[in-house]
């Protein structure tokens, strides 16, 4: 009898645990292996304590591998992931396709109005939010105060391209290995084309007109590319055509660049004495403009979204509300310090005096993000969303092909005119094949 009772109790316990396992939601989260995301994984105890019925399963990948895996999963409706880490490039494309769940149930205390307006716009489609920003960035000018003082120059808060070019030529001292300006030159839609596209916006250029005809045969593009090539030839480092973000970061941190225009996220690296030789001499300014009302800054946000194929939408919403909410920022600040909180997403962070004290570049980061408008990125009207990219599936391919041409123009192996003609030709072909141009 005793044995039977024990067996019954055991069976009951087993049934209960099976039932609770059945009731528990397992969220599979695909994420990128960037420092901020890895930190989030370490802090998830805070979430699972508050939501004991949800277990988390992480799939952490390098950026390109993540993009490939997540695209395949969502396009084929495989339903492998419940939460996706995607950028401002994918959100409008996938939302338009109806592949993402709109995020209007993130809870009363989520405060969606606290999100920075341009970031919110970049992650929305038809005024509905489809992804919540984890961290965001724009681009800005980082410069050496000592070299500027030596050359008798003062950097304005919002410099023009002419000022930047003159300053770069004055500062450049190739004999001592000091280059006036370091800019991206390595081919790639996320490398040189991110920079050149943002720059072209400030020159009044655009990728496509309202009928999707490529615009590389227009004078605005010629002005942009000629200016860029000449500037780097006169005052840039040798071999600029193979320099991307990392190469320029190394050059700047070793004291070889007078100016560097790149992602705001780099501000914390160049002002960190452990990484940078010139940390005490770095100043910041807005990305340059040409007096046309657009600055040459971009906009990017790594964000969390829920695919329609997820079977745990409610739990996924809870998780996203936790990871991108105000509470998470406070949690990171309490455990790792204010300098390490994910930047560029919320107005309240930039109003926080403690954060302003810990991050001297906070105000300019905010101003840079606020001056980017993904829905109206250019002077003339365009049919696309995105500041330094065009949010259409074909852009990754055409962006890199055009990037190769522009990189060749910078290297001197082709002329600016030939590079533009080739860009016009290849882009027209792809757009015709894809059916945009009839």
């Amino acid at each position: 009898m005793k044995t039977a009772k024990t067996l019954l109790a055991l069976a009951g316990a087993l049934a209960c645990s099976v039932a609770s396992a059945w009731a528990a939601d397992t969220l599979t989260i695909a994420t990128v292996n960037n420092g901020d995301m890895v930190r989030m994984q370490k802090l998830t105890d805070d979430f699972t304590k508050a939501n004991p019925d949800v277990t988390l399963n992480w799939v952490t990948l390098e950026e390109n591998a993540l993009r490939e895996k997540v695209t395949t999963d969502i396009a084929t409706k495989a339903g492998q992931f419940d939460v996706l880490t995607i950028g401002t490039y994918e959100v409008p494309i996938w939302a338009k396709k109806g592949w993402l769940v709109s995020l209007d149930k993130l809870g009363a205390d989520y405060d969606v109005d606290d999100l920075l307006t341009p970031i919110r716009a970049g992650l929305s489609y038809e005024d509905k939010l489809y992804a919540a920003p984890f961290y965001g960035e724009s681009s800005m000018v980082m410069y050496r105060k000592d070299l500027f003082a030596k050359a008798g120059l003062t950097m304005p808060e919002s410099p023009t391209w002419d000022f930047v070019a003159d300053a770069a030529r004055k500062i450049a001292d190739k004999a001592t290995g000091t280059y006036g300006i370091c800019l991206r030159g390595k081919a790639g839609w996320g490398e040189n084309m991110a920079f050149i596209t943002a720059m072209s916006n400030s020159f009044g250029a655009r990728w496509f007109d309202e009928k999707w005809h490529p615009q590389f045969d227009q004078p605005e593009w010629k002005n942009t590319l000629s200016f860029y090539v000449k500037l780097l030839k006169d005052a840039g480092p040798p071999g600029a055509s193979s320099n991307g973000f990392n190469e320029n970061l190394t050059l700047f941190n070793s004291g070889k660049c007078g100016m560097w225009i790149d992602a705001t996220v780099a501000a914390s690296f160049v002002s960190d004495p452990k990484q940078s030789k010139v940390s005490d001499q770095v100043g910041f300014a807005l990305a340059p403009n040409n007096g046309l009302g657009k600055n040459a800054n971009w906009l990017w946000a790594w964000s969390l979204a829920i695919p329609k194929s997820s079977k745990h939408i409610e739990a996924a919403e809870k998780f996203i509300a936790w990871a991108t909410g105000k509470h998470y920022i406070d949690l990171v600040a309490s455990k790792e310090g204010w300098a390490n909180v994910p930047p560029g997403t919320r107005k309240s962070l930039y109003a926080n005096p403690e954060y302003q004290k810990a991050a001297p570049f906070a105000k300019l980061t905010l101003d840079s993000i606020m001056s980017a408008d993904p829905t109206h990125p250019t002077v003339k009207p365009v049919p696309y969303v995105g500041v330094q990219f065009v949010a259409i599936p074909e852009f990754q391919g055409i962006g890199t092909t055009v990037g190769q041409q522009f990189s060749a123009a910078l290297a001197g192996s082709t002329t600016v005119d030939a590079a533009l003609a080739s860009a016009q030709n290849s882009t027209t072909r792809t757009m015709t094949k894809a059916g945009y141009i009839k």
């Binding site: 081919a187 040798p238 991307g244 599936p393 092909t401 060749a408 290297a411 072909r429």
Partner: protein, 287 residues
């Protein structure tokens, strides 16, 4: 002679491996052929439809295609010449008895064990960096003009990196071949008073021809797929985009149809090169 039963048994025994081969090779190939005739874009599945030869037309008429083809062939031919000539010379040197022979052999072979991505990064950042690389330092020390490798000589730079990776392989195969040279033949040549050059051209080189064929065939197969070195150093930048890279660009745009057509064109071209090579030098293997 095999009986009907043993033949049946043999067939049953190999059937699973044949089936595996079928699944692993034929199915993907057939799928690639099928997709190459479709408008199949992962991000736009609504347009999935039969497209006829459209994908092939766009790939073949892409101005980058001829460029990629030239780059691929230049890369393969240059690396083959460097590795075969260099490999023969190194193998001859390493065959001589000298102090520390084991260590030298190990050092010469080491690059083969370095992954392509790693070696590309090392060459790009430590050797060919125009600002702080070893070559720049040497040029400056000798008061010579600094060479900006990836800007002025992008293809040559990649050829050098790839050749550095494959030289050990050629050396290893050729060294083994030299060591298999008949001692009696060597002695006979010495007795006949053959001069070093004659000895090399009339005895060593003919003996090496088979090994050289193996090196050329194996290297060609791998060199036609060169990708990581280009991706890491210039990302296809000034005139370095080869055929696999062109397919990769299509794939990046999630255009499975276009990428499948590109991949099949690459397979056909690789087979033409292979057939040409086998015809031209493959006869050595039969000897």
């Amino acid at each position: 002679m095999a009986t009907q039963q043993t033949r049946l048994l043999a067939r049953a025994a190999v059937a699973p491996s044949v089936l595996m081969l079928f699944i692993w090779m034929i199915v993907p190939l057939v799928m690639t052929i099928w997709f190459s005739f479709h408008r199949y874009d992962l991000q736009n599945l609504d347009t999935y439809d039969w497209s006829g030869w459209e994908n092939y037309y766009y790939f073949l008429t892409d101005p980058a295609f001829i460029q990629a083809l030239i780059v691929t062939l230049t890369l393969v031919a240059s690396v083959l010449v460097i590795t075969v000539v260099g490999g023969v010379l190194l193998a001859l040197l390493m065959d001589q008895p000298f102090f520390g022979q084991g260590i030298v052999r190990l050092m010469v072979l080491a690059p083969f064990f370095v992954m392509p991505t790693v070696s590309a990064l090392v060459w790009k950042n430590l050797f060919m960096n125009p600002d702080s690389g070893l070559f720049t330092w040497i040029s400056q020390s000798l008061h010579l003009p600094v060479v900006i490798w990836f800007t002025n000589y992008p293809l040559l730079s990649i050829i050098l990196i790839v050749a550095w990776q494959w030289l050990p392989f050629a050396t290893l195969i050729l060294l083994t071949a030299i060591q298999s040279l008949d001692e009696e033949q060597k002695e006979a040549a010495q007795l006949d008073g053959a001069k070093p050059l004659s000895y090399f051209f009339y005895i060593v080189l003919p003996h090496l021809s088979r090994a050289i064929t193996v090196v050329v065939l194996i290297e060609t197969i791998f060199l036609l797929n060169t990708f990581a070195e280009i991706k890491v150093t210039t990302n296809g930048g000034p005139s370095t985009s080869n055929l696999p890279y062109l397919v990769y660009l299509t794939q990046q745009a999630s255009d499975i149809g276009g990428a499948s057509a590109g991949a099949l064109i690459a397979v056909v071209l690789a087979n033409i090169v292979a057939m040409f090579l086998v015809r031209l030098i493959g006869k050595n293997l039969e000897a």
